[in-house]
């Protein structure tokens, strides 16, 4: 990870880290290879009947790269309508192949956790006790040369 001041600021003071009292939905992104996970909580607002992420928090069992990715992506997600959230997740997934493997898995885990929270919210509109959705990453955290 090459470091600039903005990146270090996210390390020192990750945005939106912690629990969210009165959250409307939670979602989890998980790496089955190493047990790392990201949990996202959202509060949903309505803007002319269109839901948007009014507030968001995340917590992570993972490395500093995951925390930085969580800080950046949740900051992007805050205030977005659900359509915008899906666009953000898709854009992140397209970007993953350009990242080193360990950074790709971390960012993917955060993006999937945000998507899982929004999907859980949507499911609960139809079924109130729908369980928290967990999505698993497909990128491996371990660089190829170390895995062989």
């Amino acid at each position: 990870m090459s470091m600039d001041a903005k990146l270090i600021e996210h390390m020192m003071n990750p945005k939106n880290y912690g629990t969210l009292e009165g959250a409307d939905a939670h979602g989890i992104g998980k790496n089955p290879d190493n047990g790392e996970k990201v949990a996202v909580a959202i509060k949903v607002g309505k803007d002319e009947d269109e839901p948007y992420v009014d507030d968001i928090r995340f917590q992570a069992i993972g490395c500093t790269t995951t925390v930085v990715a969580g800080s950046m992506l949740t900051e992007e997600a805050k205030g977005l309508h659900f359509k915008g959230i899906y666009d953000l997740v898709e854009a992140t997934m397209h970007f993953l192949d350009k990242l080193p493997p360990e950074e790709a898995a971390c960012s993917e885990m955060v993006a999937l956790a945000i998507k899982a929270a929004v999907d859980t919210y949507a499911k609960r509109l139809e079924e109130t006790d729908y369980p928290v959705i967990t999505y698993k990453v497909v990128h491996s955290c371990v660089p190829k040369e170390e895995k062989e």
Binding site: S2, M3, A5, E9, M11, M12, Y17, A39, A60
Partner: protein, 277 residues
Amino acid sequence: MKTVMIKTHEAWLEMLMAGFMSKTKNKQVLFDFSDILFRHFTWLENELIELDESYSYDRDAIPIKVERLSDLLHAIIVRLNEIDLQLLSSPDKALAERIATDIHYMVDVLSHMSDEMISAFNMERRLPGMALTQDATDALTLFLFEETYKEYELILIYNYLKAHSTDAYMNRIFQILIDESFFHLKRFGEMGAQMGILAVPRIVMKELYQVDDVIPFLKDGINEELAAKEECIKLSEAVGKESQELAKFFDFINHQENYHIALMKDALKHFTGRDHE
């Protein structure tokens, strides 16, 4: 009581961070006070366990970025006064009285503490008297963020396990590991402050310390200690050309992990009745 425990947790960390920031004789006083607050935290936790009340180590974010030490000391005093007020509702009057008298003394000392300019957030990422390459600086930066969190996480995990255990053999091991993690946290926090990148470790997720089965936890813990040893070796090599002093420090930390691993293997044997490979 839960609120008092949470506020004490926050005050402990806030005081510890103030200790890292200080460059004067205030430092040791602040470290001693943070140790006292940690003990209060464990006593309050024990009180909650005795009352059979559920609790967690969740807490609020703690803003510590200040230009002068007095700004943070003022915030700590406000927090301590809140705790003092909330102690009035504590059922254990002897404990509340002890904590209250400690708080009154600490507030008095903090109120008269000499002020200092703070450089712990300047992000310069330079250690005094050392000129590291950019790669070594980046590696050290990442290590400090990873490991200050990890040591805080380990303190909370072992503390939780100890609080819920009546097994004297295991509690001895847990206490050694808590003490060792405190030493590492203090050394890494000091370096973080010197490099201008001091930060409060992030909140630890419940499932990490509310451990259902201690055996897989210990096995994972041994693997994590082995990984930490590797990180120390890599870091020692990365900084070795520029600073033999720093390389020796990371070798020293690496060698300390051996005893942690041995203790965790002992603990595993205690639970399973056989040696861990």
